[in-house]
């Protein structure tokens, strides 16, 4: 390989250079701003993690797995995974191999960073090309890989169903410009390299193309225009990149180290939140996943639109989208980059201004007097507001406690105060904190060693926001499993088959998937719904949503019921009073809480 152009420059590289300069400048400035927005502690955390070998290895692995190979998308749908990783990894390899070519053949040009991109224009083949044939082959191969990805992307625009997606996000205008520029880059590169292939050499793709073109087009005349076009496409793409979803490419590189450093969302817009918002590539996977989108409703309130509106700063829409969400956490579960849609909305809710705020200082102080019988460890049962609305659940839990001979006390039998989670998810954190303080005091003064809850909403709140010293917080499901294991209660088998609905707060919220199934298996047949565990569909009654009205909730509930009933089970089992109430409203078969099921099947001694 020898240099063909002595100066090593041609004006056609200018569009590319301009685009590159712009995008690099923009990213450097953005990086500077985001680092400045971080608190001193966060900055230290990030810096420490960047020099800790384990996190560095994890960062590199994550960048490869998430940004280049899109491992999570592969798991979702093979075609979708191939499409994204072929473009990302193929492009990455083209850049790497381009650099390798420059280093090997024209090392003196390595300081010109447009050289690897336009290598084939600037060089001519000489006798000793054999050394390069493998590289040429690989270049063509990866170009083909990228092109196949682009073809798939075009097909996906027309028919997303093939890719396992019923609905996708609609791209905005600038996104379309970016999209078409991206689509143009690689076919143009193929043309450009083909027209030059008789000079610079090529491989299985470019050499035959060169031969074909020579038959009717002639290569010399077309060479420069196509290289110009290629460079312009690159330039356009890079110039619009910061304003389109393609910003996710640089943003994700920052998101991964930040996440691995343990940074959390603490501001509604700035710092880590900003990076997360920019990292959303608008893939639209969250649209189908969102339970609100049942019956094609609320399509524009999914997380992909939230990240878009936050970028645009459209406050009215941000508010609408934030208030509607059920906070079920499913979009985070399916999201390949880990955008936490619910948390992002919570941050938006928390910054809202209220003209009036509740104040709970008048609430009575601790009512429960310590009656600690030191022999057994005392269990304090907290039913929670929703259990008060479904008295059967509370009674069943109490009955089981009695039958197993546990020393217990029912904290809110005569009505208590809320755990604070609804206030918290509504963004009224300071007010929720007051309730937390009140409850904390009551619980600590009770002399109990265990706090038993039957509502997963409260459970999550107690786990995450309460400081209860050595008092153990348990949901009744693992507690009953203990009773069974230790022989405190004996059960008979029932003939009824149940499908278990994973409540959002218990499953995705607290990661408890297996225990309820173990418990259910002990007493009845168990069927599985098509979407279960992490993919479980919210019942629609969630307190997370502020603005969804009853009619809209009904659609969500019915869609969730359809998913459960598809399993053909006789009845629905759940472990949350709110899910039970919500389903009971529309279900054609019985909906029962695990506590009720178990209590009924205990053998009385």
């Amino acid at each position: 390989m020898i240099d063909r152009i002595p100066s090593g420059f041609h004006p056609f590289v200018i569009p590319f250079l301009l685009g590159m300069a712009f995008v690099l400048g923009y990213c450097a400035f953005g990086l500077f701003r985001i680092i400045k927005q971080l608190s001193w502690k966060e900055r230290r955390k990030l810096a420490v993690s960047l020099i800790t070998p384990e996190t560095v290895v994890k960062n590199i692995r994550d960048i490869f797995c998430d940004c280049l190979f899109h491992v999570k998308l592969w798991k979702r749908n093979k075609l979708l995974g191939y499409m994204h990783s072929s473009i990302a990894f193929g492009w990455f390899m083209l850049i790497v191999l381009g650099h390798l070519e420059v280093i090997l053949f024209v090392p003196k040009r390595i300081n010109l960073f447009y050289y690897p991109i336009f290598f084939n224009y600037f060089v001519a083949e000489d006798e000793i090309t054999l050394r390069g044939s493998l590289l040429f082959f690989l270049m063509d191969f990866f170009l083909l890989v990228v092109l196949s990805g682009i073809v798939l992307a075009m097909i996906k625009r027309v028919s997303s169903r093939l890719f396992g997606m019923r609905r996708t996000a609609r791209p905005s205008f600038l996104n379309l410009v970016g999209l078409y520029a991206l689509w143009a880059i690689f076919p143009l590169r193929l043309l450009a390299e083909s027209f030059t292939a008789h000079i610079s050499g090529g491989s299985f793709l470019t050499i035959p193309a060169n031969w074909v073109f020579r038959q009717f087009l002639g290569n010399e005349l077309n060479m420069l225009p196509t290289w110009w076009a290629y460079s312009i496409a690159l330039g356009v793409f890079m110039c619009v990149l910061p304003f389109t979803r393609y910003m996710h490419i640089p943003a994700e590189m920052l998101l991964i180290p930040m996440r691995n450093a343990g940074l959390k969302m603490v501001d509604a817009r700035k710092g880590f939140t900003r990076v997360q918002v920019l990292s959303c590539p608008n893939c639209g996977v969250c649209v189908d996943a969102c339970p609100m989108s049942a019956n094609r409703a609320n399509l524009k309130d999914c997380t992909v639109y939230l990240t878009r509106q936050v970028r645009r700063g459209n406050e009215r829409r941000i508010e609408q989208i934030s208030d509607k969400c059920l906070m079920c956490g499913k979009c985070k579960e399916v999201c390949q980059v880990g955008v936490d849609g619910a948390q992002l909305r919570l941050m938006q809710r928390a910054r809202r201004q209220y003209g009036f705020s509740p104040d709970f200082s008048n609430l009575p102080q601790s009512q429960i007097i310590s009656s600690s019988s030191q022999k057994n460890e005392k269990v304090l049962y907290f039913g929670g507001c929703m259990t008060q609305l479904t008295p059967a659940i509370g009674k069943s839990v109490e009955s089981i406690l009695r039958k197993s001979g546990v020393d217990y006390e029912w904290m809110d039998r005569e009505g208590g105060i809320c755990c604070g989670r609804p206030l918290y998810t509504a963004g009224r954190t300071r007010e929720a904190e007051q309730l937390v303080q009140k409850n904390q005091e009551i619980i600590k003064n009770s002399g109990a060693k265990v706090l038993l809850v039957s509502c997963p909403i409260c459970y999550k709140m107690f786990l995450e926001h309460y400081d209860l010293n050595d008092i153990r917080v348990v949901h009744y499901v693992p507690f009953m499993l203990d009773f069974i294991a230790s022989g405190k209660i004996q059960l008979i088998q029932s003939e009824v088959s149940y499908v278990f609905h994973d409540p959002c707060e218990l499953g995705r919220g607290c990661g408890m998937y297996d225990e309820p199934r173990q418990l259910l298996k002990r007493v009845a047949q168990i069927r599985e719904a098509e979407k279960n565990r992490e993919m479980s569909v919210c019942c629609g009654g969630s307190l997370g949503s502020l603005s969804l009205d009853f009619a809209q909730r009904e659609k969500i509930t019915r869609a969730s019921l359809d998913n459960l009933c598809g399993s053909g089970a006789d009845a629905i089992a759940t472990a949350c009073p709110l899910c039970k109430t919500t389903f009971s409203r529309y279900s054609d078969r019985p909906v029962r809480d695990l506590a009720e099921i178990v209590d009924e099947l205990i053998i009385d001694n």
Partner: protein, 104 residues
């Protein structure tokens, strides 16, 4: 005047022409379901805050229609959502409460 030990109670009449409905209307625009409340009182019966601040969504809606103050009632609402679960008319009570709080 002779003190009889009792007096005529003050008139409870509300002059609807003098009532400022501005807040009620504003809330109804944002939470249309506020208009379909039938004052059944299910919400009041289930309310967690009722014993502490006399909270009742029914009364809040009524007070808004009469232009009366609702702050005391609202001051203990825990947003627990029992009222919306209990409401037979499907009034979005929690959103109503939050909207009132924002507009006060």
């Amino acid at each position: 005047m002779t003190d009889f030990g009792f007096s005529i109670s003050k008139s409870a009449t509300i002059d609807m022409d003098a009532v400022d409905m501005e807040l009620y209307e504003r809330v109804c625009r944002q939470v249309p379901s506020a208009r379909i409340c039938m004052s059944c009182g299910s919400c009041s019966a289930s309310c967690v805050a009722a014993p502490y601040s006399g909270m009742s969504v029914r009364k809040v809606i009524l007070a808004l229609q009469r232009g009366k103050d609702v702050r005391t009632m609202l001051s203990n609402c825990m947003l627990c959502g029992k009222c919306s679960m209990a409401c037979p008319r499907g009034v979005n009570t929690r959103n109503l409460i939050l909207t009132v709080c924002r507009n006060l």
